[in-house]
Amino acid sequence: MEKVNIVIVGGGPAGLAAASAAYDAGERSILILERDSMLGGILNQCIHNGFGLHTFKEELTGPEYAKRYEDQVAARGIACRLNTMVMDISPDKVVTAMNREDGMFTIQAGAVVLAMGCRERSRGALNIPGYRPAGIYSAGTAQRLVNIEGYMPGREVVILGSGDIGLIMARRMTLEGAKVKVVAELMPYSGGLKRNIVQCLDDFGIPLKLSHTVVDIQGKDRVTGVTIAEVDSTNKPIPGTEEFYSCDTLLLSCGLLPENELSRQAGVEISNVTNGPVVNESLETSIPGVFAAGNVLHVHDLVDYVSEEAAAAGRNAAAYVRGDLVEDRSHEIRLEFTGGPRYTVPATLDPAKMGDSVTIRFRVGSVMKNRFVDLYLDDERVIHRRRQVMAPGEMEELVLKKAMFEKHGETKRISIRVEEV
């Protein structure tokens, strides 16, 4: 069986960053497996700008951002197999994949980096009643049709969900000549970034209706209209608030789901909050030597952070292959949280195994104003930050430094506490 030290599943932003970082950490036996015909993943269809502000201090489009990482991978001569679908990952890291040229083949990997990204929640999973005509698209499918294929999926559009792709597509469809009538959002707050609300809706006069949802889809062959209603605090439609919108298209931007079918097959423990693997400070999953990064781990808002996280996963995978990553995981401390966070990535941390710092990312469950975000090692507060506003649509992060542990001494508990000011 073919042997490769690090197999990276997915050649999107996470996979590319992980590959380059693993190379720079000294690893030379690296293989990226990508199911599409090109590297770059979903960035290829994200032709709007705003990528790379943190990493490159400039505003890039999605394809430009991807190109920088593709160039890094190419410059390092890292092997990639395109049009290659990974079919299975076994608990002992045998990766089974398939393509036209090689057929079905297996590789014994020393380490695996899971970088499969995420998918969009479908209409079926949302249980929206009504007909099932043409004209209902996930926002990402519509984005592909418009930005890659150059076709218009519709002329008069209603968007359900205010996730970032939906907001971006509201602007894109408008720029391409469609009329976006309304964006309805089930929750009382938007699921997207504030900057996207301003730049994609407000600037184009597109109304955002919070606490609203689609309660009916009309049209037997092609969408002819949708009915939107206000919802109460339990998300149930309020009778009498129904409003009909004539349209030929319904776009759905109702959340992204990490795509972890392969991880599950491998036996990786999955969090039922993030739907991504449970990882430690090394971004290592419950299976030693299997790492995860990017949207397969938890859905990010900004690709810059995907790259950063994936680079860490790549370095750690290289360390694992070298034998520098301590296998003993009995000293991992589970991160605790109160007052708002729904999860943390990583979920556990072993101070002895961390590098100079570990970035802890989390999301809150509702919009919160004027809070302190504190991090405690046992009863010592080592981080104290004030946040004017936190929202589920914007990922939070705290950087925990090795020096804090050294100063604190032996640590039994790590907790994040969000409290009102």
């Binding site: 199911r35 049009n83 679908m85 079919m87 398939m98 393509n99 036209r100 040229e101 090689d102 057929g103 079905m104 998918r119 969009e120 479908s122 209409r123 079926g124 999973a125 249980n127 009643p129 009504g130 007909y131 099932r132 005509p133 043409a134 004209g135 698209y137 996930s138 990402g140 499918t141 592909r144 049709l145 418009v146 890659i148 294929e149 150059g150 076709y151 218009m152 999926p153 519709g154 002329r155 391409e176 000549g177 469609a178 309660v215 009916d216 889809i217 037997k220 062959d221 092609r222 439609p237 030929d248």
Partner: protein
């Protein structure tokens, strides 16, 4: 006469009649208003082959159900469609309902259903650990089965086509008239046709055509059934088809595995006016979720990947209307085909084709080939078989639908074979691309590309399910001055 027989409707019944008719030398035309076979009642139902204990003794429903159920397994081998004799259980939820359970058993035995047995709670719990705490006993029917209704209908139609039957899609029958000297004139929106005999298998519209030639009027009500389809992750929650015996807790819904390893829950039963009213409703979906809990515990309805509604063609008499209209010999009805219509389809096809053959004095078609090879399912091959296939045909190495692991090779087969797919839904029903948990979000643009390439069309001409369901409405910026 242009044709010996014209069949209205390419649903499972029409396709079955067509397939069995090609055992005879006859010029057969099937007229279908939609763009594909299996577009009406046949595509949205419980996908069950009923054992036959339910229909009233002596009824046509009982007769054709029991016969159809007996035929189905052999047919699944001849025509290569997915079929699984998983067995069914009718669960009794209260001691006071026991007499009904006993009556059902006796009715089944009288209908000639084999191997029926009443199982007590202990045994039931072993068979189905997630059965309701209220379950006291169940009728066990080992001959109950599940089938893929798309594959079944497509297989019947394709086999009919290969044996010479002609299919015209996007052709809506408007009027049928008995000609003075025998035979029939059939007016459609695509021109008129004449034939010596007509088989009316028009589903929810069958009463319209029956009533055009007969004074003994029938009346069909579209009876809507709503369903939830759960992800593969829910597979195994039950391993048999679970019905609930109507009784103290009302009438339930069934919970069943499907041949494609999903779980199906439903249906509701609501009479509506619109024969096209296949919309789901908030109330209907809520009812399915609620009732699923009657016989089975903790049905994971949160893992729903899609919901849908189908219409049963319910005749007022709740009985199949099968046979020749007395006023006009040569006009054969297959009307009122509601449950157990899918189970009965092969038996109805066989019987009605024989009636037609007798009426028209058709002779045997010696060239008839009853076997058909289905679309190869690459995922069922061993690695070495699969690699041999990919070497010969590299398209089998390219996965297009990642949720259901469908390769380009399978999609090409679905498009290229007789009565091949021409739409996204057509591909979906033949090979399951788009049938999985992402519901075509990922693969639809790719399947559209393949369809366009294969059919020699522009991407913008590819539709979801026929001419009125375009997916693309123009090119970017085309509406900007």
């Amino acid at each position: 006469m242009e044709y010996d027989v014209i069949i209205f409707g390419a649903g499972v019944t029409g396709s079955a009649v067509a397939r069995y008719l090609t055992r005879y030398q006859a010029k057969v035309l099937v007229l279908e208003r939609e763009s594909d076979v299996c577009e009406g009642t046949s595509k949205a139902n419980s996908a069950i082959v009923h054992a036959g204990y339910d229909a009233a003794k002596g009824s046509l429903m009982a007769k054709y159900n029991v016969r159809g159920s007996e035929m189905m397994e052999d047919l699944s081998r001849e025509l290569d469609f997915s079929y699984d004799r998983c067995g069914s259980l009718v669960v009794c939820l209260s001691e006071e309902d026991r007499p009904r359970l006993q009556a059902l058993y006796e009715n089944g035995a009288a209908n000639g259903v084999r191997d029926l047995r009443i199982v007590e709670r202990e045994e039931l719990l072993e068979m189905e650990p997630n059965i309701s705490d209220n379950a006291v006993a169940a009728l066990w029917a080992p001959t109950g089965a599940i089938v893929c209704p798309f594959e079944l209908t497509i297989a019947l139609a394709e086999n009919a086509a290969v044996n010479g039957a002609e299919f015209r899609f996007n052709t809506k029958v408007e009027k049928v008239e008995a000609l003075p000297d025998g035979g029939f004139a059939v007016a459609t929106d695509q021109g008129s046709f004449t034939s010596r005999a007509v088989v009316n298998a028009a589903g929810v519209y069958a009463d319209v055509f029956h009533n055009q030639v007969s004074d003994r009027k029938i009346h069909i009500t579209p009876r809507k059934g709503e369903y939830l389809l759960l992800d593969h992750t829910a597979y195994g929650h039950v391993t048999h088809t679970i019905f609930q015996l109507p009784g103290k807790f009302g009438k339930g819904v069934l919970v069943t595995p499907t041949v494609h390893k999903n779980i199906l829950v439903g249906p509701t039963a609501n009479d509506i006016d619109d024969p096209e009213g296949v919309n789901t409703t908030a109330a209907g979906l809520a009812e399915v979720m609620e009732k699923s809990a009657l016989a089975v515990k903790n049905v994971p309805t949160r893992q729903t990947i899609t919901s849908f509604a189908g219409l049963r063609a319910h005749e007022d008499g709740h009985e199949f209307v099968i046979g020749e209209v007395p006023e006009h010999p040569g006009f054969f009805d297959c009307a009122g085909i509601e449950s157990p219509g899918l189970s009965s389809a092969p038996a109805i096809g066989e019987a009605v084709s024989d009636m037609v053959a007798a009426r028209l004095d058709l002779s045997k078609n010696e060239a008839f080939v009853g076997e058909r090879k289905g679309i190869l399912k690459a995922s069922e091959l061993s690695i070495s078989e699969r690699n041999a296939l990919i070497e010969k045909e590299p398209a089998y190495g390219q996965i297009i639908c990642r949720c259901e692991s469908v390769s380009e090779g399978e999609i090409l087969d679905a498009i290229r074979r007789p009565l091949g797919a021409t739409t996204l839904d057509g591909v979906k029903r033949r090979v399951r691309a788009g049938m999985g948990r992402c519901q075509a979000g990922f693969c639809s643009p790719r399947v559209m590309e393949i369809l366009a390439r294969e059919l020699g069309k522009d991407l913008s001409e590819i539709t979801k399910k026929g001419p009125d369901s375009p997916i693309i409405v123009g090119i970017v910026k085309d509406s900007i001055e």
